[in-house]
Every structure is written in structure tokens, then in C-alpha cells.
């Protein structure tokens, strides 16, 4: 809402400097977003009379002008050609600094003295572009400041109003607020309507069929108007609030809207069938061409203004083309009404149509402003459009709108705010806001004025008191903290742990959009029954590639990896912890769970200048194992079965713990990689947080005392078939049942896998390091030899292993 201070002064005296006024409004909740000084740069520009124009003796394109601005005659060199002696022009005198930044000095131009400059509209920033200098009307007062003459001796506040403050959507409304803040009294404007002739009731009638949607409708008739341009002062005020002047009739309705906050509409009375008004809901099949030229299909929920036959306006939103005021209009019917907010809002939303009128009606107008605004407009139409105002207002108000009575307990207000303000002071604050108050014992009974639909309950009055008392005057206190042990939700702690670990392994944390393209399921080749096809779909996505909630972190991570690779990043290491979403059927909220994912491509040991090596499966597996270790998940198994179709079947593993599937990791399938234009040596990790938490809960580590006796470490290299995985060796060793062995074996580690010289083709050598330890004594060599023998026997028997010699 643009507010002109010059206009505002008509309703309230303003005695403080502009910045102080702005600050007071901001502190009262009317956010002054921008302050625009319209006269800035025009301080030294005056209206001048051009006395003579003569050619410049040494420059064809320049003229020598003599001008007079009340004082002595000045000589000015001018480059324009559109002026003649006798014209009123805008003269910038030396010392002026124009709105476009140009500084004016007394100077010599091609040998001739110039004591100022004749300005163009462009130079004064009155127009984007202009040809020649500004020629003012012949009645412009010579010698007066141009800004004052143009009505630009003004400051505009652009106030960002919150939706509850419909009452401030007018100059009168803001003036009320200023009066309440400064204690000044509102200026009462005496507006009498020069009524004449026949009574309005003889010329038209108003029928309200739906008093719920339209509690009040007032009509006036103004006859014999001369439609034409508005006078300068009115056009200028409209321009300042951002409205383009159209003609005096339309301009008057707009003017009253911005002055009093009451939307008005003028119909061409002759275009109304039977010259009468019916306020009703539209009938199925009816339509209306609104002023913007759009034909609108109406529904039975759209309130319309109709004549005897058809809708002529979308009530409270926009008028219709057929009854519009035109140059040929003589008699007009002036509508001033109060419409119920919700209905207007529904219609405006349904029709996708917003107007200054609907903006105010849907936030709540002042039902008691209806007749006053009608009177004001009628008076202006009589004055500016030579209209004859028919006697009386046809004011149909079947069910008066009542504002509530609110009981305020000062004690409660003080308790909520943390202040100690006497009840009298609260009552005084409310009075300043135009709220009628009565003190009844310990309570204040407040009668909400018609223009404040936002005040409904005690808390609303508490805010009014706080607002005017000043938020900054409420003392700052710290509530006493009850002792509690705030425990973060387990998912959150898991995310933190994973974040620490993965960043430690060189992964940057990514945050990708939780909505993705629904096409990912196909791109990743998911089977038809894959649960990851159970996307939650958005009804109104902004873009098609953000139309589904993700069921996996992989699409986002692949997208991020691709973007990085395209920016010539050769090494990609990204990690994400975030929710994934699974549709749970209509009417249910989806299942949400946290997933952990990572993507890895390029260098296996990034960041070091030594000899590099390409990332491989184990670079992806390392952080996963570290996470399992940190979570104390014991007995998790990496298996080659149960992989997603977008993973390489031989270079990937799924991760299991008991019956639980914890996730998977491995290389992106070369075909998928090729289709996505990704390198085929890209590795992925995808883990399920709830499963990890269940596994972790089972394995919370118990304290193990530090060993008192030394461990015996023995190496064992065995030759096995290429097809046997090292995990199988460990598994077999784990199956040795002898009690002494099980107690003594503390750790097995695969420390080398070797193929080549000395090993037959199709075989490999796997080197194991086994640690044995007793808690009671130092194990003897003989005992350990027996254990080693047992291991070899088992491996030989079950897996055909042979001791590497």
C-alpha cells in the first residue's frame, strides 16, 4: 500500500520528521518498506516564463533563451527546439542537482553564458523518455517551486501490510493509526452532498437475494455526468499511489477507494436492464465478460451484481464490460457495498482474478463506511463531472454486521506480556485506537469498531496494548530452565555419526531436493514391483523433474555427481543423509524414513600428490565398515545377492545383518552409467537408517577389559579357487566349534590376496592373520600350532584350500 504523506495530512496532522514517522509505524507493525521522496532533486527547479528565444551565434543546434522566474531575467543556453516565447518551462537554477544526478552550474557554452537549464521530463525523472523540454500549462504560476506545482512535493511510504490489517488499506486507515500513535486528533472533513431533484428510489431499486454474502448494498444515481479527464490534483494523487488515471468517473471511484478504503463501482445506468440491481448468486450456465475483456463462466457459488436479466458485475471483484462507464455515459449508478470476506475470496480464487476491490473485501472492509464513501464519491462527481446527484441513498442493510464485545483482564494481559501496566493505561491505549471501553470491576469491556475485523478475542487486545505500549519497552527476561536431559532422536544421532565418518573419509555432505523426476524408476531399471516405485506424487509441482518425492537418495546423488563431473571435477565424493518417502495408499501419510547414501568417482585417494589409484569397491566399503564399527553392529555380512538392478552384479554387495537388509553398495551398472552419461567407475552407497538402528540396538558394546596376556599372531596363506570369496574363508573359520579354539581366536584379518607367479591359473592365494589370546595365561606355541592346524584342516575340507608353500 503506497501512502502519500501529503494526502495523509488531510486526515491527521504530522508533526514529526519523516524518518521518525516511519519508525513509529514500523514499531507499531506497519512495515514501511520503502520511503520515496518524490521531490528529491527538484529543490532548485522552478516554474519560469520563457521571454525570448534566439539562435546561438556560434552553434546551429543551440538556442539562447531569456527566462524569468519572478526575479531577474536569466540567460540560458538550450538544445531543445520545442519551445517558443511565452511558454511556461521548468528552470533548474545553478546549484541544482537533478533527479538524474546532473549538477547545474553557471557556465559558458560555446562562448555564451548559461545561468541554468531548461529541463525535460526525462531529466526530472517524470518520464522514462521525452522529446524536448517540459512545457507546462499556461496557468502554471511563474516563480513557484516545480515540485509543489506538480504535486510532487511529497513523500511516499510503501507499507507492507500484514493480511490482518485491512483497516490500513486506505489513507484514512493509516491516518487513524498515526493518530493513535502520536496522540493527535483525526481531522474531521465536512463533506456535504449537493443532492437535487428526484429521489433515487424513483429511478432504480436494489434487491439483495443473499444477505449472508452481501449484508449491505447502497446505490446512488448521478445524472448528466460529463465524462472527461480528471483534474491534475486528483490524477496526481492516483499516480502517486500507483493507479493510472482513466476518466473522471472511474478516477473518483478509485480515489475514494484509496482515501477511505471502500471499493466503489460505477455502472452506466442506461445499460442496466430495467435500471435496477439484483445481488444474487450466479445461475449455472451464466457467464460474464469482465472489464479485463475475459469471458468468465460463473458457478452458483459466485456472487454477482445483476440487472433485471443477467449478471453485470462479479460482486466485489470486477465490473462487467457491458455496463462500463464510457465517454457516452450520461447517468451512472454508483455502487457502495459490504460483501462477506470468504465468498469474495472463493470467487477471486476460483476466477484467478484479483483487484484492489477484492483485496480489501476478502480481508474485511468497514460496513459503516458504505454510505460515507458513497457520499464522498457523489460529491466529487458533482464537483468534477458536473453530475446531478439524485436525492437520497438507496441503502439496503438487512442484517447489520456486529463487531464483538471483548472482555480484557488487565492482569492476564500483564501476565502474558511480562509487564505491569495499570488497567487505566490499557483502557487509554484502546481508546486511542477508537475502541470504546468501559471498566467493569477488574475487567475492561471493549467494543470493537466497525473497521477492525481482526479484533475478536482477548489476545487480540493484548497485542494492541503491546503494540502501542511498544514491544521494545517489554523487559527481556530469561525463563528458568527446568533440568532435563534433552536426548536427540536416534535417527538424528545416526545422521550425525554418519556425517562425521563420511566427511572423515573425504566425502562432502550434499543436500539434494527431496522431490525428483518420477522418471528415475525407469532410468534405474527398477522392476515393476520394486517398492521404490511407490512414489508420493505432487499434484502441483513447479517442474516435472520435481514431481515426485524421492524413494531413494541415489537419483539426487547421481544428479549432483553428474553436475560436478560436468564442471570438470574429476573426483566426486558426496554423502547425504535425508528422508525418503513411500506412498502408503490413499488418505494415509506416506512412510518417511532416513536413508544414508554416498557417491564416489575418480581418485581413490584424492587430495594427495603421490601416485594415484582409481577408486574401487573397497573405497566405498571402507566407510560403510567404519560406520558398522562405530554403531557396534556385529556380524553384518556383505553378500552378492539381492542387489538393485542398477548396480554392477559382480562389483557390488548387499549388506545384511541377521534377517535385516541394511543396504547395498557397489559400482553403478555400466549400462545405466552410459545412459546417464556418467563414468562407469562410479560407486554408490545406499543404507537404510532404521535397519541400521535396529542392528545397532542389538549390539550395544559391553565393556571388554584390556588384555592382560599377550596375543599370538600367526599368518596363514592358503591357495583356493578364484570363485571362493575371502568372506567364505572367514565364515568357515567361524564355524569351527571346538571350545578352546573359539575362546582363543580374537581376530582374523585378510591382509593380502595374490594371483600370479607360483599360483596355478584359476586360483588365488589369500593371506590371513589370526590372533589368539587367552584371558588366563600366555598361550604356548604348541597350543597355537594346534589351532592353526585346525583352521587349515577346516579350510581344506570345506573349500579345498591348500597351504601356500
Amino acid at each position: 500500500m503506497r501512502v502519500s504523506l501529503e494526502w495523509l495530512r488531510e486526515y491527521v496532522p504530522i508533526n514529526q520528521p519523516t524518518p521518525a514517522l516511519a519508525e513509529a509505524l514500523i514499531n507499531a507493525g506497519l512495515e514501511v518498506g520503502a520511503i520515496e521522496d518524490l521531490g528529491a532533486g527538484m529543490e532548485s527547479v522552478v516554474v519560469a516564463e520563457l521571454l525570448s528565444v534566439a539562435p546561438h551565434p556560434s552553434a546551429d543546434r543551440l538556442s539562447l533563451c531569456e527566462v524569468q522566474a519572478g526575479g531577474e531575467t536569466r540567460r540560458v543556453v538550450c538544445g531543445a527546439r520545442n519551445m517558443k516565447a511565452g511558454d511556461r518551462v521548468a528552470l533548474a537554477v545553478p546549484g541544482a542537482r537533478l533527479p538524474n544526478g546532473l549538477e547545474i552550474r553557471k557556465s559558458k557554452i560555446r562562448g555564451e553564458t548559461s545561468e541554468g537549464m531548461l529541463c525535460s521530463e526525462q531529466e526530472l525523472k517524470l518520464a522514462e523518455k521525452s522529446a524536448g523540454i517540459l512545457i507546462l500549462p499556461p496557468d502554471a504560476p511563474v516563480g513557484s517551486p516545480l515540485a509543489g506545482y506538480l504535486g510532487r512535493d511529497d513523500v511516499i511510504f510503501d507499507i507492507e501490510l500484514t493480511p490482518n490489517r485491512a483497516d490500513c488499506l486506505s489513507h484514512l486507515g493509516v491516518a487513524r493509526e498515526v493518530a493513535a500513535l502520536t496522540g493527535a486528533a483525526l481531522t474531521v472533513q465536512d463533506r456535504t452532498v449537493p443532492e437535487a431533484g428526484e429521489a433515487v428510489g424513483a429511478m432504480t431499486s436494489v434487491t439483495i437475494e443473499d444477505a449472508g454474502r452481501c449484508p449491505r448494498y447502497a446505490a446512488r444515481v448521478i445524472r448528466g455526468v460529463k465524462v472527461g479527464p480528471s483534474p491534475r490534483w486528483l490524477a496526481s494523487r492516483l499516480e502517486k499511489v500507483g493507479v493510472r488515471p482513466i476518466n473522471n468517473v472511474v478516477d473518483v471511484t478509485n480515489y475514494v477507494l484509496f482515501e477511505l478504503g471502500q471499493p466503489l463501482h460505477a455502472f452506466d445506468l442506461a445499460a442496466l436492464a430495467e435500471g435496477r440491481i439484483v445481488v444474487r448468486c450466479a445461475r449455472e450456465g451464466e457467464s460474464l465478460v469482465t472489464l479485463d475483456g475475459v469471458e468468465r463462466k460463473l458457478t452458483a457459488d459466485d456472487l454477482v451484481i445483476a440487472d433485471a436479466n443477467r449478471p453485470v458485475a462479479l460482486a466485489g471483484v470486477m465490473g462487467g464490460e457491458a455496463t462500463e462507464v464510457t465517454a457516452g455515459t450520461a447517468d451512472i449508478l454508483l455502487e457502495s457495498a459490504y460483501f462477506a470476506p470468504l465468498g469474495i475470496r472463493r470467487t477471486a480464487k476460483r476466477q484467478g482474478l484479483k483487484s484492489e476491490a477484492s483485496h480489501r473485501f476478502e480481508r474485511g472492509c468497514d460496513p459503516e463506511m458504505v454510505v460515507r464513501a458513497s457520499d464522498r464519491a457523489a460529491g466529487l462527481l458533482a464537483e468534477l463531472a458536473a453530475g446531478q446527484v439524485a436525492s437520497g441513498v438507496l441503502d439496503v442493510y438487512p442484517s447489520p454486521v456486529r463487531r464483538p464485545e471483548i472482555r480484557l483482564r488487565p492482569e492476564r494481559a500483564n501476565a502474558l506480556l511480562g509487564i505491569d501496566l495499570p488497567g487505566d493505561a490499557m483502557a487509554e491505549i484502546l481508546r486511542r485506537l477508537g475502541i470504546a471501553v468501559e471498566i467493569q470491576g477488574a475487567e475492561i469491556v471493549a467494543r470493537v469498531p466497525s473497521w477492525r475485523p481482526d479484533l475478536a478475542i482477548e489476545a487480540d487486545l493484548v497485542e494492541e496494548i503491546a503494540r502501542l505500549h511498544g514491544y521494545d519497552r517489554i523487559p527481556t527476561t530469561l525463563p528458568r530452565a527446568p533440568i532435563q536431559s534433552p536426548e536427540a532422536p536416534p535417527e538424528r544421532r545416526l545422521e550425525q555419526t554418519a556425517r562425521e565418518l563420511f566427511t572423515g573419509f573425504g566425502f562432502h555432505e550434499a543436500i539434494t531436493y527431496r522431490f525428483v523426476s518420477p522418471g528415475w524408476a525407469d532410468r534405474l531399471g527398477l522392476t515393476v514391483d520394486d517398492p521404490r516405485r511407490r512414489n508420493v506424487r505432487l499434484r502441483n509441482p513447479m517442474r516435472e523433474d520435481q514431481a515426485a518425492m524421492r524413494t531413494s537418495l541415489i537419483p539426487g546423488l547421481l544428479t549432483a555427481a553428474l553436475a560436478n563431473l560436468r564442471r570438470d571435477q574429476t573426483d566426486v565424493r558426496l554423502f547425504e543423509a535425508g528422508k525418503v518417502f513411500f506412498d502408503s495408499g490413499e488418505g494415509n501419510l506416506p512412510e518417511e524414513r532416513v536413508a544414508l547414501g554416498a557417491v564416489l568417482a575418480g581418485e581413490g585417494r584424492p587430495g594427495f600428490w603421490g601416485k594415484g589409484r582409481a577408486a574401487d569397491f573397497y573405497d566405498a566399503k571402507g566407510p560403510v565398515e567404519a560406520l558398522l564399527d562405530r554403531l557396534a553392529i556385529r556380524g553384518a555380512r556383505f553378500q552378492t545377492e539381492g542387489l538393485s538392478p542398477y548396480l554392477h552384479p559382480g562389483l557390488s554387495a548387499s549388506l545384511r545383518w541377521e534377517k535385516e537388509r541394511l543396504g547395498e553398495l557397489g559400482m553403478l551398472h555400466p549400462e545405466v552409467a552410459a545412459a546417464l552419461e556418467l563414468p562407469d567407475t562410479l560407486f554408490l552407497v545406499d543404507l537404510d537408517a532404521p535397519a541400521l538402528l535396529r542392528a545397532a540396538a542389538a549390539g550395544f558394546p559391553a565393556f571388554i577389559p584390556p588384555p592382560r596376556f599377550p596375543a599370538a599372531r600367526r599368518d596363514l596363506a592358503v591357495v583356493v579357487d578364484e570363485s571362493i570369496e575371502s568372506g567364505e574363508l572367514l565364515e568357515q573359520i567361524g564355524l569351527i566349534s571346538e571350545k578352546e579354539f573359539r575362546e582363543a581366536l580374537r581376530q582374523i584379518e585378510v591382509f593380502d590376496v595374490y594371483r600370479g607367479e607360483g599360483i596355478p591359473a584359476g586360483k588365488k592365494s589369500v593371506a590371513l592373520r589370526l590372533s589368539y589370546r587367552s584371558d588366563e595365561r600366555t598361550l604356548t606355541d604348541a597350543e597355537v600350532n594346534v589351532f592353526q592346524e585346525r583352521v587349515l584342516t577346516r579350510l581344506a575340507k570345506e573349500l579345498g584350500a591348500a597351504l601356500r608353500t
Binding site: 507493525g29 527476561t477 572423515g504 550434499a510 539434494t512 527431496r514 564442471r567
Partner: protein, 341 residues
């Protein structure tokens, strides 16, 4: 015999001195062997002691040991000096290029939004708040209705909503966690809820998905002054101890009185700049006293309790903390961006 022993000593010491300070170790070793070795002249001489009369033996024996000690000491000193020299030489020849980068695992960075959210969470936990969470996909009821934003309320316009179904939305703020928490628990409550929220908006300062932290406190006598106190403590910890705050009235349907909180622009020291749009203040969060209708919606008696709530955007705080000028950087996941935090 005495002369012979003295002569051996003098000769050994002289020849050792002749070898000089730079003699290689082998020569010193050879020379030592010549006197002290099994067949060295001193050993030979000492073996001859057996032929001496018994009365002379103690005297000569003592002298022989003295001579042996002197020679050994001289050789040890020479060899010690040599070892020290060699150590120095070897140290001098061992050099690294100290300007090459160290061998560290490349450390990844935590996302700046996570860092900001975690920092904020930490501060609130320090103020006695516990962390709660709620779903991203929410009922219209929890996201709007229970928060005093009925259908057709103008405030819905401020938050253009993604819909999943008629009555299911992507939450537009973290405030539904208030509803969920209050329905489950009874006062006193001090809770913060960090989370992801969604609005249909996409430009330099708006992302369709962004992060918020919601906070609320409910007890018998929570005041607006307490709200001011908690937020002052938080913002001064988050930004700067001396940061000045401005609380001004604003409107959110689920609080009354409502407030918007600004911090003094720390970039221009309140002189006015691009970030504060010349106002010297930066809008940082919305807050207020919980609306009685919200208490009613969760089954609390508004007469028996009071509370405050606040909500803030993490991106906005991160943008201010790190000087990031375009919100979209946070969701592009460019490693060149991420590695700076």
C-alpha cells in the same frame, strides 16, 4: 717392561693423532686392533708378564691396565667423534620438500546448512530445549487448520503450498511439529524442531525446499518478555554478543501477539547497505505468543497455560553468516562450493 708399556702407549696415542679428525672408520678400527686386538702389541706385551718375577707382577700389572685404559679411552673418543660426524652428514643429506602438501585423507565438509542448523540446535539445547521432529508430508489439518489457518484464510496465500492430496500437503513450515508435540505431551515444554519445508517459490532468495527451525515453550506463566529473552540469547550467540535486536508487531495466525524480529545489520554497522536494503535492520525470524485457538486444537486449556513460538529460515541465517548471495548455491552441491565451509 715399564718402558716398553709406556712406549706402546705413546706410540698408539701418537699414531691415532696422526690419523687426524677425518680418518675413515676402518683405519681407526685397524689401528685399534694393532694395539688392543688379540695379537696387538699391548696384548702381546701383557702376555709376556707371566715371565716376570712374582714381586714385580702387581706393579707392572697395574701399569699395563693403566696403559690399556688410556689407549681404549683415546680410541673411544676418536670413534665417538667420528660417529657424531657421520650422523651430522647423514642428517644433512636427508631433506624433504616442506612445501609439498601433507599426506592426509582428504577431509570432506559438512554442508553449510547442516552446520548452521546444528549450531542453532546446539544453542537452544544449551538453553534447555529438546529436539523434536515431524513428517515432511503433513495433513492439511496439522499444517494449517490446527494452527488457526482455516481454508480460504488470506494467510494461506503467503505460503503457496504443494499438495499431495486434498488434505495432504508438503508442510510449508515446521509449525505442525508444535501440534504433534503438544498433542503427545503435556506442559512444561521447551522444544525445537529443525526440519525441511516446502513452498512453491523459486528465485534468488527462495528455494522450493528449504530448512526451518521451529521452537516453542509452554508452561504456566510464559511471557512475551521470556520470548524476547530466549531469542536475544540465541541471536547474540548465533551472530555476535553485541548484536542489537528489534521486535516489531507482525501477524501470523497461530500467534497473538505476533512479532517479527530484526537484528541490527552487522555488515554496515547500521549505516545502511545492500543486504539490509538501507534500513540498517535485517529481518531474521517470526515469533509470538501461542494463539489460544492453537491451544484449544491440541486440547490444552488456554486459561491455564501460556507459551511462545518462533520460526526461522536456516538458509537466511547461513546466507548472512557466510555471505552467500544466492540461495540456489545450497542445493546445487557443487564441490567447489561445499569445500569452502
Amino acid at each position: 717392561m715399564i718402558e716398553a708399556l709406556n712406549a706402546i702407549r705413546d706410540e698408539a696415542l701418537r699414531r691415532l693423532a696422526e690419523l687426524g679428525a677425518d680418518a675413515p672408520e676402518a683405519e681407526i678400527r685397524d689401528l685399534r686392533a694393532r694395539y688392543l686386538g688379540r695379537e696387538g702389541s699391548l696384548s702381546v706385551a701383557m702376555r709376556g708378564m707371566g715371565k716376570l718375577p712374582a714381586s714385580e707382577r702387581p706393579e707392572i700389572g697395574r701399569l699395563a691396565n693403566e696403559v690399556k685404559g688410556a689407549i681404549e679411552e683415546a680410541f673411544e673418543t676418536a670413534q665417538g667423534a667420528l660417529a657424531a660426524r657421520e650422523r651430522a652428514q647423514s642428517l644433512a643429506s636427508e631433506r624433504v620438500d616442506v612445501t609439498l602438501p601433507g599426506r592426509t585423507p582428504a577431509i570432506g565438509r559438512v554442508h553449510p546448512l547442516t552446520q548452521t542448523a546444528e549450531r542453532a540446535t546446539e544453542i537452544f539445547v544449551g538453553l534447555g530445549f529438546s529436539v523434536a521432529e515431524g513428517p515432511d508430508v503433513e495433513t492439511d489439518y496439522n499444517n494449517f487448520e490446527a494452527l488457526n489457518i482455516p481454508r480460504d484464510h488470506p494467510a494461506r496465500e503467503l505460503q503457496d503450498t504443494f499438495y499431495v492430496a486434498d488434505d495432504i500437503v508438503l508442510r510449508t513450515h515446521t509449525s505442525p511439529v508444535q501440534i504433534r508435540t503438544m498433542k503427545q505431551r503435556k506442559p512444561p515444554l521447551r522444544v525445537i524442531a529443525p526440519g525441511t519445508v516446502y513452498r512453491r517459490d523459486d528465485d534468488v532468495t527462495h528455494s522450493p525446499m528449504f530448512l526451518q527451525i521451529e521452537g516453542f515453550m509452554v508452561d504456566e506463566k510464559v511471557t512475551f518478555g521470556d520470548l524476547k529473552g530466549v531469542l536475544t540469547a540465541f541471536l547474540q550467540e548465533m551472530f555476535d554478543k553485541g548484536t542489537r535486536l528489534r521486535f516489531r508487531p507482525s501477524y501470523f495466525p497461530f500467534v497473538e501477539p505476533g512479532a517479527e524480529v530484526d537484528i541490527e545489520c552487522f555488515l554496515c554497522r547500521a549505516k545502511g547497505c545492500r543486504v539490509c536494503k538501507g534500513t540498517a535492520w535485517i529481518e531474521i525470524l517470526g515469533a509470538g505468543m501461542i494463539h489460544p485457538e492453537v491451544f484449544r486444537a491440541v486440547g490444552y486449556d488456554p486459561a491455564a497455560c501460556s507459551g511462545f513460538a518462533f520460526g526461522m529460515g536456516i538458509e537466511r541465517i547461513a546466507m548472512l553468516r557466510y555471505g552467500v548471495n544466492d540461495i540456489r548455491h545450497f542445493y546445487e552441491n557443487d564441490q567447489n562450493f561445499l569445500e569452502q565451509f
